[in-house]
């Protein structure tokens, strides 16, 4: 039995170390650990999105970090056995960003609603387009086969279809995730659909590429996307992108780790269900504030403090049934 003041050994396992959205969550987790103090937090992620390898890292993590593991993954369905293994080993696990798969005993999921996120972006888009407008809108999907991007696309599509029925929606087309291929694909898509009024992506890189295309060609069109990468925020500030829908990744990591620490340190029961940490629209109105927030880890911590305090003080307000997660 470790002594009472031994550091808690915890881990945050996430999809990849090289992409910004996941890093935001890692920053959140780190912040929670350092706020709580005396937590030995291991951050592990494959260098590319690679489900099976993440499974492997997770399996190592539940052995090394017995006090609790937060798991962020893009391929939750691969984790049925590993999650049960964690339960067998008595390691508390919280699912982050994607709902835990059926057939496991993990019953806390902390994430935003991706359908909602897509809808928010759709609403922002609709605001830019006068009623009765006709024409084409083109959608892109950076990683075909990734469920959460599909949910965002579905959400966005439903809003546009409902509110601007005169618009013809093309796609989604494959827009590629690696930065140069994302640029090339969008560049070609823009050329192949020269008359579209708007181009909408749902990944982190799309806004960056769409802004650069406008800059290079001098053509102005409506561009929107999700995830507040630094370069994407810059694109909003420069006026090339009307809005970014941010899933507020940082909050997910923070809340997940805070709850795990509370649970282990003070024996507080982990809540059950889907904790929706919410989403945020970044547009011209709040862009400066968000850029300031995203400057470094300290600014993030400071800016999110009010929100995290609020959410952790009243869990029930944020909790729904896991089955509702979308």
């Amino acid at each position: 039995e470790p002594s009472a003041n031994a550091p808690l050994k915890m881990a945050f396992v996430y999809a990849t170390s090289t992409q910004n959205p996941f890093q935001e969550m890692a920053f959140g987790a780190k912040a929670a650990a350092s706020n709580a103090g005396n937590v030995d937090l291991a951050l592990s992620a494959p260098s590319q999105v690679d489900g099976p390898q993440e499974v492997q890292l997770f399996q190592s993590a539940i052995r090394n970090s017995k006090d609790g593991v937060a798991l962020e993954t893009l391929t939750p369905d691969l984790f049925v056995r590993p999650l049960n293994q964690a339960t067998d080993l008595g390691v508390p696990v919280v699912a982050v960003d994607t709902a835990p798969p059926a057939g496991t005993k993990v019953d806390l999921y902390i994430g935003n609603s991706n359908t909602e996120l897509g809808r928010m972006l759709g609403e922002e888009f609709v605001k830019q387009v006068p009623e009765g407008t006709t024409g084409e809108v083109v959608l892109g999907n950076a990683i075909p086969g990734l469920t959460l991007l599909q949910q965002r696309l579905d959400g966005m599509k439903s809003v546009i279809e409902a509110k601007r029925p005169g618009l013809r929606i093309s796609g989604p087309f494959d827009s590629g995730s690696e930065p140069t291929s994302n640029f090339n694909k969008w560049n070609d898509i823009v050329k192949a659909h020269p008359d579209a009024i708007g181009y909408l992506g749902v990944g982190a890189q799309d806004a960056v590429s769409l802004a650069l295309i406008q800059k290079n060609t001098g053509r102005k069109f409506l561009a929107g996307s999700c995830d507040p990468d630094i370069a994407a925020l810059q694109a909003v500030k420069d006026g090339y992108v009307f809005a970014l829908a941010s899933p507020e990744h940082w909050l997910k990591g923070y809340v997940a780790l805070s709850l795990l620490i509370e649970h282990k340190r003070n024996g507080k029961e982990l809540p059950k269900g889907w904790w929706n940490t919410g989403s945020l629209v970044v547009n011209a109105a709040n862009i400066d504030q968000i850029i300031a927030r995203q400057k470094d880890e300290d600014t993030r911590k400071a800016a999110f403090k009010a929100e995290t305090d609020k959410q952790l003080a009243d869990p029930s307000k944020y909790l729904k049934s896991i089955g509702d997660a979308n």
């Binding site: 030995d40 993590a61 369905d77 059926a102 075909p144 990734l146």
Partner: protein
């Protein structure tokens, strides 16, 4: 008899069991095995938690897929070919079996279908290589995208879930037997089988002959296209097998699963002692190469490396591990005597 002759003769080990064992060990590249063990021990010394049965079992279990693909890749490398589509064949077989199961087919039947599909994909590779007359590298670069695309398209870009997890397919193949995961037993069986094929059958001789000297092989009447076809089909079938084992463990189908496995499999085979230049191969080495890579990535988790440095650290440790392997290997080579002209 000259002095040299005598010397050469004394090095002959005859047919003794010891000599046989030693030769097999040498042929099967023990150095990567030792390097793996050294790595495990070093990690274990620094982080004792790592040295638990459960953890080591997990490492083995996680390495099964790449190890199987690497074993097949060793055959290909031995005949100077490369198959880049193995990861995609793995993914497509997995998704297809999963879809069949979801649609109500008997899981064991779906499992067989997955393996057969793998073999068919391998056959398709072979036919493309033959009839378009392009190197397997280029052909499989294209079919890699094709197969991956099919995996995404068939599942409509979605993960395939809702499978009958209580069925014996999942409990047996995803379960344990005599303290080891069944998939590890299957890996052991496949490794042994492929080693026998490579070392003790005419087919294995042909594969290595072609890689060793393609002109002489053709001159000797060995059909290179036919041998390549068999090997590509074999690699496909192994990919299919890995796919269904993956399905049994992961219990769901992800269309992007296995992305990047091709490079890992090649790397594992090469680290294990199968050079790209052909003629030589070791299935056991390839499997241990995969396990070595698995140990590196599992082991690093124990060292709270800052996330931004984890990729850097992985590269560094791989470098160290192959460095140890290479040092062992060169000692062995030195013993094998240097030759002049």
């Amino acid at each position: 008899m000259t002095e040299v002759d005598r010397r050469v003769t004394t090095t002959r080990e005859g047919n003794s069991i010891v000599g046989f064992g030693r030769r097999v060990l040498r042929a099967e590249s023990s150095s990567v095995l030792i390097a793996t063990i050294v790595l495990v021990l070093v990690i274990g010394a620094l982080r004792p938690n790592f040295l638990t049965i459960g953890q080591l079992r997990d490492v083995l279990n996680n390495s099964v897929y790449v190890a199987l693909l690497a074993a097949g890749m060793a055959f290909l490398l031995a005949m100077r070919e490369i198959d880049l589509s193995v990861g995609a064949m793995f993914g497509l077989s997995l998704i297809t079996s999963a879809l069949l199961m979801r649609d109500g087919f008997d899981p064991w039947l779906a499992c067989a279908a997955g393996i057969v599909l793998g073999a068919i994909l391998g056959l398709a590779n072979a036919l493309v290589v033959q009839h378009i007359a392009i190197p397997a590298f280029v052909a499989t670069l294209a079919t890699m995208q094709l197969y991956r695309g099919l995996a995404v398209a068939l599942g409509d870009g979605q993960q395939v879930t809702g499978l009958p997890l209580e069925h014996s397919f999942f409990t047996v193949l995803g379960g344990d037997w005599l303290g080891l995961p069944v998939s590890v037993w299957i890996l052991i069986a496949v490794t042994a089988g492929l080693t026998v094929v490579l070392r003790f059958t005419p087919f294995g001789y042909r594969v290595r002959s072609i890689g060793s000297n393609p002109d002489a092989a053709a001159f000797s009447g060995i059909s290179i296209p036919r041998t390549r076809l068999y090997v590509l089909v074999l690699v496909g079938a192994i990919g299919g097998l890995a796919g269904v084992l993956g399905l049994a463990f992961f219990t769901s189908g992800d269309p992007n699963i296995g992305t990047g496995f091709e490079l890992q499999a090649i790397a594992a085979a090469v680290i294990g002692g199968t050079p790209l230049r052909g003629g030589v191969a070791t299935v056991v080495g390839a499997v241990f190469g995969a396990i070595l890579l698995g140990v590196v990535s599992s082991g690093l988790v124990y060292f709270s490396i800052p996330a931004n440095w984890s990729s850097f650290a992985t590269g560094l440790v791989v470098l160290l591990a192959v460095g140890v392997d290479s040092a062992l290997r060169s000692r062995q080579r030195a013993r094998e005597s240097m030759l002049g002209l």
